[in-house]
Subunit: 314 residues, 2 copies
């Protein structure tokens, strides 16, 4: 399952509305097939792995990070059927598909067909990797990551607006990898107007992974951008993972609405003083309730800078 | 020398104007005497170690973190004379005394007396430990540590002033150890008026290590406090190490004047938003010059909070 999760990483941010799934087929301790959700969402991981395994899938064990889909689609056959046809001895799954059209039926059909089915293996890891897909299905909105790049004193720019550069090359490269792993990036209309950010992935070999660009607010968006008029319409984006890159008003609006699931905090070892704060009003009335909301999950140095990742607890 | 430096830690913040020095005397691979500068500055480390070693100091090696003083004092004999009288075979020193009344004469006199003298051993470590003493002697001002306790977004309080509590018990305990290691603590007159901070060391067994309290600015200081009218008079404090604990105006004034040597940054995993920023105007005109001024020397977790220490590079 760990190998299946690792393979699934390849598709993260590249599968549109579909979850990025990984599948590994093992026959007599030898991997005979590997698959991951392909660009745009098809073929599915199971279809790819089964095509690779061919007749060796018969009697094999199939590891898959998400329950095989059981519902028909005009884009391809349901994976539960493909798996059934391949006659494996055993299917090991991490998590059940939250899509109501499958929702346990994929596993159930395989069990009914006499295939041994085990589920819940590395479920928490799979849920983290599939957080965006679960968020869209269960909460009707994308999983939201808020990125901030600040000085030690929490400023994102000088008072005169100068903000290039606060963090250095390593931090920027890291942030571009985060971009490549998201389905869409959002910035506020003010940031579009003032900074005209490109928001693309500028890492050699990953340029094609630049995500969809979204402007929050009113006004003319640059060509090729989508526009989100208000946060109430967040669900209409129909994307799994969203990276919010600023500015302070947009970041504060997401926090105020309780819409941030993950915080990426890049910090440079500089002090700015009276500049532009990373946040404005986030709707906090009492210091007591600020506690217990964020838990650190990563802390490391990136050259002279550092990154910390915090996950929302509530 | 590492043992001598470790022993010297006991006196840090407790020796008044005197440096906290450590001394270890070794005869035939056995430690026969240990000493460190005592409360208030006397006896000196060498005097204590030599008294302990007695006749065993003859022919021994004496390790001392700072050159033995060569100038007479009404508070006790010069250590260079005491060492000479003990007839060691060898003296190993870390750094030369910056006090112009000694400034190399301590080592020179011992060499003239036929004692083998080696210097510069673990000099950089000793210089860090004695940074306050060197600062007062070489720059005529204390070594200044600025402490800030902030949210992830750099706020030290809510907009309404509420600031209890941002950081938790572990961070506060750590900050109290830092207090115990300083000669004096300074806060601005505004902080005195609004918060009436006690600024003492509230750690079991270390209460007697509470440092001298200083208010920056005008107005009535609490009983027992000293007053510093302006930063121009910083040298008049005649102390080696100063801990600046706020508020934002005072912190900014020290930074604007280039008077901060070390930054203690405690951070809680909370977001505050539009509150009270940890800093105001620090006199930064251009983002480019903000870089290269601070180097991280410590980063660790303190319960849910974290601490980072930055040393000034320029």
């Amino acid at each position: 399952m760990a190998a299946a999760l690792a393979i699934a990483e390849r598709g993260v941010g590249q599968t549109g509305n579909n979850p990025s799934v990984g599948c590994v087929i093992v026959q007599d301790d030898i991997i005979v097939g590997r698959g991951w959700t392909q660009y745009g969402g098809r073929p599915h991981a199971e279809a790819m792995a089964l095509a690779q395994a061919g007749s060796k899938a018969a009697g094999a064990t199939i590891y898959v990070t998400l329950e095989p889909c059981a519902h028909p689609s005009e884009r391809g056959p349901a994976c539960a059927h493909l798996v059934y046809d391949a006659r494996p001895a055993r299917v090991v799954g991490a998590v059940t598909d939250p899509d109501p059209r499958t929702a346990g039926q994929g596993f159930a059909r395989l069990r009914e067909a006499g295939i041994e089915v085990e589920t819940g293996v590395m479920a928490s890891e799979a849920r983290v990797q599939l957080a965006g897909f679960f968020s869209r299905l269960e909460r009707s909105r994308p999983f939201v990551t808020l990125k901030m790049a600040t000085s030690l004193d929490g400023q994102i720019a000088m008072a005169n607006g100068q903000s290039r550069w606060i963090t250095g090359d390593f931090a920027r490269a890291h942030a571009h990898v985060e971009r490549a792993r998201c389905d869409a990036i959002l910035v506020g209309a003010g940031t579009v107007r003032i900074d005209a950010p490109r928001l693309d992935v500028r890492l050699a070999g990953l340029e094609h992974r630049s995500p969809r660009k979204i402007m929050l607010g009113s006004g003319d968006a640059p060509q090729g951008w989508d526009v989100l008029r208000s946060l109430e319409e967040l669900g209409s984006l129909a994307c799994n993972t969203l990276l919010v890159e600023g500015g302070a008003m947009t970041a504060s609006a997401f926090l105020r609405a309780g819409l941030v699931d993950r915080l990426l905090l890049y910090r440079a070892p500089i002090l700015i003083g009276a500049g532009t704060a990373c946040l404005g009003d986030i709707g906090l009335d009492n210091l007591d309730v600020a506690h217990g909301r964020w838990q650190i999950s990563l802390s490391r140095r990136l050259g002279k800078d550092s990154i910390e990742v915090y996950d929302a607890l509530i």
